[in-house]
């Protein structure tokens, strides 16, 4: 990216993840949006585009938000892209700026999931009168549970098991230890939905959901919102030195879908599109995995985190188990992964996740992460993946502007 078309995050915010029985998605989204504006030192008057996502909601979240935070008549986009919804909303705002339609935009992701059960499971009931073939497989009864599983814990369990089949070493205990790490990390994150450490034994003895994923190894359904203000480099340079100093450079913004692979429609292939997105992102940013000071990756299940060490090239091909067992992805290791607590402990309000993980990285790059600060962090990567599939990767860099204000 040349300096003339560089993109920056000017302001960003996430709500505490958890339960908000008295607030709806519009309240939560508005809270994050107004806080992001305040963080960036701008108002809705400065914003030229709004992209918002609320995957499980009824739609029109962008317009409903405008009614709460400011109806300025700007183009508003409602975005849905599974668990990559937040990252996709951010990219929509970035693309509008790069296209020259405006110089500042806002992306919001919000979800209310507290108390929601299993995601992805259909549980379609048997026909009452007679068997009747339906759908693209001509199925006379639900396929979920009879021909494999549609539920997310089971799907991602197989993703991890398949990796183990290919490379070995991926035992139940290894997956549980990954979860132990993320739950431990969350103790330092006051915005996480769950902030309690769990021992390996506790995690392994939690109720089994889909072997090898116990409950503690699954992403936590919760409520939450996150919002970001993005700005062009040219506009940023007209703002205050303090705004320039706290701005975070978006060195790469990539979205991929899954290319055809044998078996990709039998078990989702979350690997190929992530590898491709990572390769594109590293090339776009001109950085290598070695340059990353921290990574927030999509640990929707402990089994998913393992394969993404490999997909994001944090380790040699096939080396994810060794990488993890070396201690590298712990907060005090050489390549901290999910210091926020990850989806397993921080929580996973779907559409918010793809912006909340960027907030986490920005927090460290700005040196504002408090107790869990990765000292001297200069470059970070945020990754999300949504099934069907969509993968969003952003590489972020600490500002070198406004040094005089530091």
């Amino acid at each position: 990216m040349s300096s003339s078309d560089d993109i920056w995050i000017l302001g960003i915010n996430m709500t505490k993840f958890g339960k908000y029985p008295d607030r709806d998605v519009v309240d939560l989204g508005a809270q994050a949006a107004m806080a992001a504006l305040s963080d960036g030192g701008v108002t809705m008057k400065d914003i030229g585009i709004l992209a918002a996502g609320n995957l499980m909601g009824r739609g029109a979240i962008a317009q409903n938000l405008q009614k709460q935070i400011g109806q300025t008549g700007i183009p508003a986009y409602n975005v849905a892209n599974a668990c990559a919804t937040g990252a996709t909303a951010l990219r929509v705002a970035i693309m509008a700026i790069k296209a020259g339609e405006c110089d500042m935009g806002m992306a919001v992701g919000v979800e209310k999931l507290a108390g929601v059960g299993l995601l992805g499971a259909s549980g379609q009931s048997k026909t009452d009168g007679g068997w009747k073939p339906e759908g693209r497989f001509g199925a006379v009864a639900s396929m979920d549970g009879r021909i494999g599983t549609d539920n997310m814990p089971g799907t991602f369990a197989q993703v991890g098991m398949e990796y183990g089949h290919r490379y070995g070493g991926a035992t139940f205990e290894v997956f549980a230890r990954i979860s132990e790490k993320n739950h431990q990390h969350s103790t330092l994150n006051p915005l996480a939905a769950y902030t309690k450490a769990m021992s390996l034994e506790q995690i392994m003895n939690e109720p089994m959901i889909a072997y090898p994923n116990t409950r503690a190894m699954c992403s936590a359904n919760c409520d939450g919102a996150a919002a970001a203000i993005v700005v062009s480099g040219a506009k940023l340079r007209t703002l205050s030195l303090e705004q320039q100093r706290r701005a975070v450079k978006v060195s790469a913004s990539v979205l991929t879908s899954d290319p055809y692979q044998e078996a990709c429609q039998v078990l989702p292939d979350v690997n190929t599109l992530t590898k491709r997105a990572a390769a594109q992102a590293y090339a776009q940013a001109g950085v290598s995995p070695d340059d990353l000071d921290l990574v927030e990756l999509h640990d929707c299940f402990a089994t998913a985190e393992l394969v993404h060490y490999d997909n994001l090239m944090l380790c040699p091909e096939g080396g994810a188990v060794d990488f993890f067992m070396s201690g590298a992805p712990w907060r005090d290791g050489s390549k901290p992964v999910n210091v926020s607590g990850g989806l397993q402990s921080k929580g996973h309000p779907i559409a918010a996740t793809g912006i909340a993980n960027i907030w986490e990285v920005c927090h460290h790059l700005r040196g504002e992460a408090g107790e869990r600060q990765i000292q001297g962090a200069k470059v970070g990567l945020a990754h999300v993946i949504g099934l069907a599939s969509a993968c969003g990767i952003h590489i972020l860099e600490k500002s070198n502007l406004g040094a005089a204000a530091a």
């Binding site: 499971a121 549980g123 009168g129 006379v140 009864a141 549970g145 089971g154 089949h165 109720p207 889909a210």
Partner: protein, 181 residues
């Protein structure tokens, strides 16, 4: 699906066949009248999914792209791999090896648990299915285990039609490995 492919012509031989998606064997069985129960009730069968072929030799089929060979279990408009739009119905090997599995112990309402969900490599084609006739525990299921296709009953509807599904069971060590096709 490819135009003019005869593989599933049996499905259109009668209104009954059309209504129940019966394969030729089942239809003939019904026409022989050898399977009647009670008065008007008929014991006929219908496959759980249209890519399961019943009869003396139950097996799975797939829509194979005639251009690149990619295989799909559901109906297709064009090939996801090469965009060609001509397909032929092919038989899938009935024996294979477990490439990935999970033991689901918590599922949607109405789905009996525990069950073993798996991806089985059947002669180079990945197939999704449950492992059956094996204890649903990590001690009894392992990656790489050899399995073979079996049919299972999903129950009988009010018209006396029994839906037949499929799963994969462990292949006994003594059974010669090979694709019967």
């Amino acid at each position: 699906m490819g135009r003019g492919k005869p593989a599933r012509a049996a499905h259109h031989h009668s209104r009954i066949a059309a209504a129940y998606n019966l394969d030729r064997w089942t239809l003939n069985d019904w026409l022989r009248g050898g399977a009647t129960r009670h008065n008007m009730e008929v014991t006929a069968t219908i496959p759980h999914v249209d890519y399961l072929v019943l009869g003396d030799d139950p097996h799975l089929t797939a829509n194979e792209c005639t251009s690149c060979g990619a295989r799909f279990f559901d109906r297709r408009n064009a090939c996801a791999n090469c965009f060609a739009n001509d397909f032929v119905r092919v038989r899938i090997a009935s024996e294979g090896e477990v490439r990935a599995f999970t033991i689901v112990t918590f599922a949607a309402t109405g789905v009996p648990v525990p069950f073993v969900a798996a991806v089985v490599d059947c002669g180079g084609t990945s197939v999704r299915g449950n492992l059956v006739n094996v204890e649903a525990s990590p001690e009894h299921v392992h990656l790489g285990m050899k399995v073979r296709l079996v049919t299972t009953s999903l129950g009988t509807d009010l018209h006396g039609v029994e839906a037949i599904g499929f799963g994969f069971e462990p292949t006994p060590q003594s059974t010669p490995f090979g694709d019967p096709s």
